[in-house]
Symmetry: C2
Subunit: 389 residues, 2 copies
C-alpha cells in the first residue's frame, strides 16, 4: 500500500444554512478543496461521500451521484458512493478514499461529507439522531442519544468522581475555541455558570452540553504522497486510518464508560503510524455531548482512565496545554452536520499542520489526530495526520 | 492488486418476512455464506453492508455494526460500514469488499446486502423508491420511479418500434424462471395476457411490469483466489468489478433510452476481465421495471441498440437462449429488497457457475455477469464472475 497525502481541503460555514440546498453545500466544499489542491475536476477519479441520514432529512437517497452530477461531472461516469456509519460516516468515507488511493486503484479522489439537518423540526432531528443507537433495544424504550450519553456521564461521575463542573468545562472550552473559527455554528463564548444553569436535556447533561443540529459540508482531495510533496511546501500525510466497531446498545458493554471501539481504533492507528499519544499536538475528537470528549480522551490514550475530568478542567487540553483538543470548536461549537463532521475534523487538522489556522493556530503542530464516533460508540474511526516536509 | 475469489454464498427467502427482523435476516444470510465458505467467524476481518433506506424503513441507521453485533462479533471490534447508492447499494458494497481483498488489506471479508421493506405501507415504500431519483428536479413534480421508467419505455417504443408485448414478455419470463427458485418472492407463472391486462401503474407499465417490495438478505464471503482454489473444486473468481455514475435526473440525459452508466461500467468490466459479451452464458440484470431489462441488455452489449424487444420475445435471453438472463427470476419474480439485490445477483451467479442451481441450472456456464442499477441509472455496477478451475 502506497503513502497517501491530503492535497486540498474545503469547508462551508456550519450552521442553519436555510438559503442553500444539500447539493449546493456539497459542491461548495468540494470545489474549494479542488482549488486548494491545484487540481481540476478532470483529474478526479472517484467520489466517496459521508452522509448519515439524507433519506429521512431531505427525502433523498443516492446522493453521491447527485453531488457528482451538480459538480458538472456526470458526463465522465466516475464511480461514486455514499458511506454510512451513523455520526462516523464522514470519517468512514475518508477511510474508503484513503484505501482507494493507498491500493493504487486511483490517484486522485475527493472525499466529501455533507448533511442538511435544519430542514426538519428539532424533534425529528432528535429521532434521527437516535436512529444511530439500537432501535429495538434502546430507542423503542424511550432512549434518545443524549439520554444514553447522560447515563455514561452519571456512571463516569460515580466510578471516578468526575464532577458536573469538569464535564461542563468541555462546552466552555469548545465555545472559547469556536469564537476564533469563522466557519463555526456558534461563535459566542459561554461561562461555566451558563452551562450549569442551562435547561436539562438528559441529566446531568443540559442543553449547553449538547452539540447543535447544523447544516454543513466539508471535503478533502486525496492523492499519492509524492504528488502532495510536489505540490506543497507543507505536504500532509495520512499516517493511519483505522475503523473499529462495538455493540450497538450501551447496555451490552462490559463498561459503559469505555469506548472500546475508540481504544481499538486508536491502538491500531498508533501502531500503523508508529506513533504514540505523546507525539500528537492537536486533536479533533468527538464531543457531540460534553462527556464524550472526556471519555474519548481516556480511550485515545491521552489521559489515564478516570482522570480526564480534572485534567480537562486544569487546561491540559486547551490552547497552550499538552494537546490542543478541538481548536475548531468541536461538534459543540463548530457544529454537528452528522456526515460532514469526520471530514471537517480532518480539514481543521490539515489547516493546523500547514500552519494556516490563523488565530486558532496550535504552535509547532506536526502530528494531528481525528476521532469520529457513531451512536454511543458502535463505530469509531481514528485518523493520524503528519506534516511530512 | 491480487485476484479475489468468492468463497461462500448465502441468501434468505425473499418476500414478506413479517416474522423476522432486519437483524435476523442479515445474520441468516451471513451465517449461511460463512458455513458455505468453510470458515468460522473468527476468520472474518471486515463487513461491508449494502442497504438503501433503513433509516426511513425501520428507523435504524448505523446498521453495519448492528449486524456484526448480533452475529456475536462485537467483541472483536472489526471494521464495518454501510455502502449506499440507491438500488445499486448491494453491488457497491461488493465493490468495496472486492477492493479491500484485492488491495491486500484483508484476507476474508463478508459482504452483505439486506433490506426490510414490507414493514411500511406500499405508498411509503413508493416514496422511498422515488428518493433514488432527483428529489428537487423530478420527485417534487410528482414523478415516481415507475413513472420515470414508463417514460423510458414510451421513448423506446417510439424510437425503435419496441412493442408493449415485447416489454411484457420480460415479466412472463421472469416468473417462469422464478417458479423454479425456492427463494423467490413470486413462484407463480403468469401469461402475457395477464401482464397486458394488469392495472396500470405508469403507462405503458402495469402492475405486473413492476418488481414487488420485498424483504430479504444475501451475503458472500470474499477471500484471496488461492484460498478459493484450495477450498473448492469449482472456485469462483471476480474477474471484474466496475462502478459508473450518470446524471440523477432522466431529463438531463442526452438519450433517455440509454443507460450510459451501464454502458461505461460494462465497457470497463469487459476490459478488466479481458472478456466480451459473447463470453457470458448467464446474467443477472436490473429488471425492477420490465423495460429496464431491455434497455440494460442493449447497454451491456448483449444486443444491438433498439433490437432488445424482438430478441427478448424470440427467447434469446431465456433458458436455452444465447445468454440466460435472470435465471433467479430477477427483481420481478425473485423479489426486490433494494440493498440485497446486488448481492443476491452474485449469489445466483455463483450457484450457476458452480453447477449448483438445480432446476435453474444453465448448462456449461463458466462466465456470468451481474448488473445492479440505482434510480433510473445514476449508478450502475457491473461484476463479471468466472469459474476458475
Amino acid at each position: 500500500m502506497r503513502e497517501v497525502g491530503i492535497l486540498g481541503v474545503g469547508q462551508t460555514k456550519f450552521g442553519e444554512l436555510w438559503d442553500r440546498s444539500f447539493r449546493e453545500i456539497g459542491i461548495e466544499a468540494g470545489l474549494e478543496a479542488l482549488v486548494d489542491a491545484k487540481l481540476s475536476s478532470a483529474d478526479l477519479e472517484a467520489l466517496y461521500l459521508g452522509n448519515m441520514a439524507s433519506g429521512t432529512l431531505i427525502s433523498q437517497e443516492h446522493i453521491a451521484p447527485l453531488i457528482l452530477d451538480y459538480a458538472g461531472l456526470a458526463g465522465r461516469h466516475l464511480p461514486s458512493m455514499r458511506v454510512e456509519g451513523g455520526g462516523a460516516s464522514g470519517a468512514l468515507a475518508l477511510h474508503q478514499g484513503y484505501l482507494a488511493v493507498a491500493s493504487g486503484l486511483y490517484d486522485y479522489v475527493v472525499v466529501g461529507g455533507a448533511e442538511k439537518l435544519t430542514d426538519v423540526p428539532d424533534a425529528t432531528a432528535t429521532q434521527i439522531t437516535a436512529s444511530t443507537a439500537d432501535h429495538e433495544w434502546e430507542v423503542v424504550f424511550g432512549a434518545t442519544l443524549p439520554a444514553l450519553w447522560g447515563l455514561i456521564a452519571r456512571r463516569h461521575m460515580h466510578d471516578y468522581g468526575t464532577t458536573r463542573e469538569q464535564i461542563g468545562q468541555v462546552a466552555v472550552q469548545d465555545h472559547e475555541h469556536g469564537s476564533k473559527n469563522p466557519l463555526a455554528h456558534y461563535r459566542n463564548k459561554i461561562s461555566l455558570a451558563q452551562v450549569l444553569d442551562a435547561g436539562p436535556i438528559a441529566e446531568p447533561l443540559g442543553v449547553l452540553d449538547c452539540a447543535p443540529f447544523s447544516d454543513g459540508a466539508a471535503a478533502v482531495v486525496l492523492g499519492p504522497m509524492e504528488e502532495a510533496r510536489r505540490r506543497s511546501e507543507t505536504p500532509i500525510r495520512i499516517a493511519a486510518s483505522q475503523v473499529a466497531c462495538d455493540s450497538m446498545a450501551l447496555q451490552h458493554r462490559a463498561d459503559p464508560t469505555t469506548l472500546e471501539s475508540t481504544s481499538s481504533a486508536a491502538r491500531r492507528a498508533f501502531q500503523q503510524a508508529r506513533r504514540a499519544p505523546k507525539d500528537v499536538q492537536v486533536a479533533e475528537i468527538h464531543d457531540a455531548y460534553t462527556i464524550a470528549a472526556l471519555v474519548s480522551l481516556e480511550d485515545l490514550g491521552f489521559v489515564e482512565k478516570g482522570k480526564s475530568g480534572p485534567a480537562f478542567a486544569a487546561g491540559e487540553f486547551a490552547h497552550g496545554g499538552r494537546v490542543t483538543v478541538n481548536p475548531s470548536g468541536g461538534l459543540k461549537a463548530q457544529g454537528r452536520p452528522f456526515g460532514a463532521v469526520g471530514v471537517a475534523q480532518v480539514v481543521e487538522l490539515v489547516r493546523q499542520l500547514r500552519g494556516e489556522a490563523k488565530e486558532r493556530q496550535v504552535p509547532n503542530a506536526t502530528v494531528g489526530l481525528a476521532q469520529d464516533v457513531g451512536g454511543t460508540g458502535a463505530t469509531s474511526v481514528v485518523h493520524l495526520l503528519e506534516r511530512a516536509n
